[in-house]
């Protein structure tokens, strides 16, 4: 048993080592900025699609917007600056997700807050349930004992035997 535990520990250590090794390999792709920003904006033609996913034939907006985004990146605009320029030109609905300022913060906070509140409530409920005594049912039958109980047990054994 001890040998098996040792093997398991070594396997776990080896796995962790592999994970750490691969974690330090490779680097982020800087060229993905256009793709990233293009997926953080909506096409404003009314198709309700992400800018880089708008495939409407002859869409007058998406081609121009992609060109503007490319131009902003070529100018060396930061992500925030590029997005801000789009908001000024096309309105707040051009951004595909609420910003993290002002009232829009509520959009982001609420799901996590609800999760935390839900978890807390559940932990409290679980604690209460663990500590509470059993409530007998109104229509419950009297407990059985002795030979009758043995008979039921024998029946249960037969039913669950495979």
């Amino acid at each position: 048993m001890r040998v098996r535990q040792g093997t398991l520990r070594r396997a776990t250590q080896l796995t962790l080592l592999c994970c750490a090794l691969f974690t330090f390999l490779g680097a982020g792709d800087e060229g993905a900025r256009f793709n990233d920003l293009g997926h953080r904006m909506m096409c404003v033609c009314g198709c309700s699609q992400i800018l880089l996913e708008c495939n409407h034939v002859g869409c007058k907006y998406s081609d121009n917007m992609r060109g503007e985004l490319m131009a902003a990146l070529d100018r060396g605009d930061s992500d925030d600056l590029a997005l801000q320029a789009f908001v000024q030109k096309y309105g707040t609905t051009v951004i595909a997700a609420p910003t993290t300022t002002g009232f829009n913060r509520v959009a982001w906070i609420m799901p996590y807050l609800a999760l935390v509140l839900g978890l807390t409530t559940m932990v409290l409920i679980v604690r209460t349930w663990r500590n509470r005594p059993l409530v007998p049912r109104a229509d419950a039958v009297a407990p059985v004992s002795g030979a009758e109980l043995e008979h039921f047990r024998e029946e249960a054994r037969k039913d669950t035997e495979t």
């Binding site: 398991l8 396997a11 796995t15 592999c18 994970c19 691969f22 974690t23 390999l25 490779g26 680097a27 982020g28 792709d29 993905a32 997926h39 953080r40 909506m42 009314g46 198709c47 309700s48 699609q49 992400i50 996913e53 708008c54 495939n55 034939v57 002859g58 707040t92 609905t93 951004i95 595909a96 997700a97 609420p98 910003t99 002002g102 009232f103 829009n104 959009a107 982001w108 609420m110 799901p111 996590y112 609800a114 999760l115 839900g118 978890l119 559940m122 409920i125 679980v126 349930w129 663990r130 500590n131 509470r132 005594p133 059993l134 409530v135 049912r137 229509d139 039913d159 035997e161 495979t162």
Partner: protein, 677 residues
């Protein structure tokens, strides 16, 4: 024709109202005549099916006869519409789809009323509640969204035609499936509310409702996945889920319905969560109605919502009435819903179900919150904001991953209490398998630190493998015990095992299907796309595939004109397929529609299958050459395979258990180390 339809709808309303009022009276005032009165109510409910069916037939016949004197037919059909889509006219517009909803409810009601002998009093309550819901929809059909309204003035020679997005084979089955799911939740809702009103003793109502709920859940699952497949095959953006409000509307009741299917087991086996289950099914039904409201009221913008109309107010009123009724009877009879047992251990099946339910409901809340936040924002700060995929991906995916973890862990925990030893024993190999997959993915270039989508993909892959391996280990462990006694091979033993507890093992197959679907989803982190104008002989490279434009042409058909390209697909210099991406122009509706072409690379990549997805974007007016967009979407076919497994698992779970076969071996079978379902 329209007069027959109008009369049928009025008659159906009168009969539904009678079924509701007479049924209510019979239940409220038990006496010598109440049984007969209740029987007349039941029969009136049965007759509603025949009358609503007649109305639906009249509308379809009008579509086949191109009867443009009926405004609905004029707006949603045309002379050259293919026959299959003439049936689809029934659910392609506001009024027709409400009639279809009413027809499905009448059909469910018919089955319920014919099976009333199972428990006459509970079924009578359920029948009255269904009649009340039917009255609401028939009121809508008669007074707010009349499908037989007639055109005024000179009759038009042809109709406006069916929306091109709906002229796709799947649209003949996707809406019916979705509606069967939506409408079907009326039945468990009716049983639950009926059981609460009559203070139904015991958990028999849960047993009666279980099959209804599973069938309904199965239909809703099919509806949601068919919708995804339709979006993928028709909308031409290379994706299948865009967090559109109408998609979310179908997903929310699916989430709470799934939570309900799990939590009812707590009530059945341990007499716990009675209040929760009651409210969960109330909420699920409410969300079905809410989804219909979202689709039809125009409060949120969506690619496939119906036009803005006044019927939204009707739905708001109906939702308020449902909530008030449920709340009233809950307050009145809440003492009836006390739990009978206490929780014995945190590490148990019970607590895993609690967490599972919490996460499902939180997931649903997140989707609801994101869907409604634009309205809230406009109300509070006067400006509308967009809540699109980036929001949902950030807040919903972590919850989904936690749910996936519980899908793996939950089934291996025993009821009441699970020992640490048992957890170690059951989890060791699946966990090693999951970690191994994670390491392999990193070796093959998945860098979770490079992009959050890669991190999610890695986690999802590991958890999906964990789920799959735990399911497989459960099957193998059980099958080995059977094999040891019957000397059958392992596969036959697995079939035998599944047949003995169809609900448990059907559920495991559904879990396995979910894992397969998740593997399909995670492929989206590695999607590629390219766009190019392609003349004769022009080439485009995407991944290992070379696309060569052989030709492009135009064609004219009665219902539409089309432009399409012929693209030869090569891999490693060898031609593997020819694809025909197309764009259609529908004459009656004057709308264009892309028809993407999809080539799943099963032969070339086997398990690491990808979809080569070509879209004909249009002609460059200056050069006259087509613009082709190519997507390479890894693992997408896994989604559809996982969906098939989920449906298969649901069907298995619906099959009655086989009578346990007595084994000849004298020895007792050792109890399984994990909790039996």
């Amino acid at each position: 024709m329209s007069q027959v339809g109008s009369f049928a709808l009025l008659l159906a309303l009168a009969l539904s109202a009678y079924s509701f009022l007479a049924g209510l009276l019979a239940l409220a005032r038990p006496g010598p005549g109440s049984e007969r009165l209740g029987e007349t109510a039941r029969r009136a409910g049965i007759a509603v099916f025949g009358i609503v069916f007649l109305a639906a037939v009249v509308l379809v016949v009008a579509a086949f006869q191109d009867d443009f004197s009926i405004a609905y037919i004029f707006h949603h059909s045309n002379r050259d519409l293919p026959i299959a889509y003439k049936f689809a006219v029934l659910w392609s517009g506001q009024e027709g789809s409400l009639l279809f909803w009413s027809l499905l409810l009448a059909t469910y009601g018919l089955v319920l009323r014919l099976r009333h002998k199972t428990d006459a009093r509970l079924f009578a309550y359920a029948s009255v509640i269904i009649a009340a819901v039917q009255v609401f929809f028939l009121l809508l059909l008669n007074f707010a969204a009349h499908p037989f309204a007639v055109m005024t003035g000179e009759l038009p020679p042809d109709g406006n035609g069916l929306n091109p997005l709906l002229q796709y084979p799947e649209m003949v089955i996707h809406p019916p499936m979705l509606y069967l799911g939506y409408v079907g939740f009326t039945i468990p809702f009716a049983f639950a509310l009926g059981a609460l009103i009559m203070r139904y003793p015991g958990e028999k109502w849960i047993n009666i409702t279980r099959r209804w709920t599973m069938v309904t859940w199965g239909f809703l699952t099919c509806g949601v996945f068919l919708g995804m497949h339709w979006a993928y095959s028709v909308l031409g953006w290379g994706g299948y889920w865009g967090w559109d409000p109408v998609e979310s509307a179908s997903f929310m009741p699916w989430l709470t319905g799934t939570a309900f299917l799990h939590s009812v087991m707590m009530q059945e086996k341990r007499g716990m969560l009675k209040v929760w289950n009651m409210w969960l099914i109330f909420i699920t039904f409410g969300l079905c109605i809410f989804g219909t409201f979202l689709t039809r009221s125009g409060v949120v913008s969506s690619v496939h919502a119906f036009a803005q109309s006044s019927i939204g107010n009707w739905f708001v009123g109906f939702l308020a009435l449902i909530f008030a009724t449920c709340a009233f009877f809950y307050v009145k009879n809440r003492t009836h819903l006390r739990s009978e047992h206490r929780l014995e251990s945190i590490v148990s099946r019970e607590s895993s179900f609690l967490f599972n339910n919490l996460l499902f409901v939180m997931f649903c809340f997140t989707v609801l919150w994101g869907t409604l936040f634009p309205i809230l924002s406009e109300w509070v700060q006067g400006t509308k904001v967009t809540v699109g995929p980036p929001f949902f991906n950030k807040v919903a995916i972590p919850v989904a991953l936690l749910l996936l973890l519980l899908t793996a862990v939950g089934p291996l925990l025993a009821w009441r209490k699970t020992s640490t030893e048992s957890i170690k024993r059951n989890f060791m190999w699946p966990a090693i398998g999951a970690v191994l997959v994670g390491v392999l993915m990193m070796i093959f270039g998945v860098r979770p630190w490079a992009d959050v989508s890669y991190f999610y993909a890695l986690m999802a892959a590991m958890l999906a493998v964990l789920v799959a391996l735990t399911v497989v280990s459960e099957f193998v462990r059980g099958a080995r015990v059977i094999s040891g006694h019957t000397h059958q091979n392992l596969l036959a033993s697995m079939v035998h095992l599944g047949h003995r507890n169809t609900r448990r093992y059907g559920g495991y197959i559904v879990h396995f299907g979910v894992a397969v679907v998740i593997i399909g989803f995670l492929g989206s982190a590695f999607n590629l796309d390219q766009e190019k104008e392609m003349g004769y002989g022009d080439k485009m490279q995407i991944g290992p595939y070379t696309l060569v434009c052989r030709s492009y042409t135009q064609e004219d058909k009665p219902n539409y004109g089309s432009e399409w390209a012929i693209i030869d697909v090569f891999r490693n210099g060898k031609q593997i397929d020819t694809m025909y991406p197309e764009r259609r122009f529908y004459k009656a509706s004057q709308q264009t529609q892309t028809m993407p072409q999809i080539h799943p690379t099963v032969k070339e990549d086997f398990l690491l299958v990808k979809d080569l997805y070509l879209v004909y974007e249009g002609l460059n007016q200056d050069t006259g050459r087509p613009i082709i967009k190519a997507h390479l979407n890894p693992m997408v076919p896994w989604i559809w395979a996982g969906w098939m497994l989920m449906v298969f698992g649901t069907i298995i779970a619906l099959v009655p258990n086989a009578v346990p076969v007595r084994l000849t071996a004298p020895a007792r079978v050792q109890a399984a180390p994990v909790g039996a379902d």
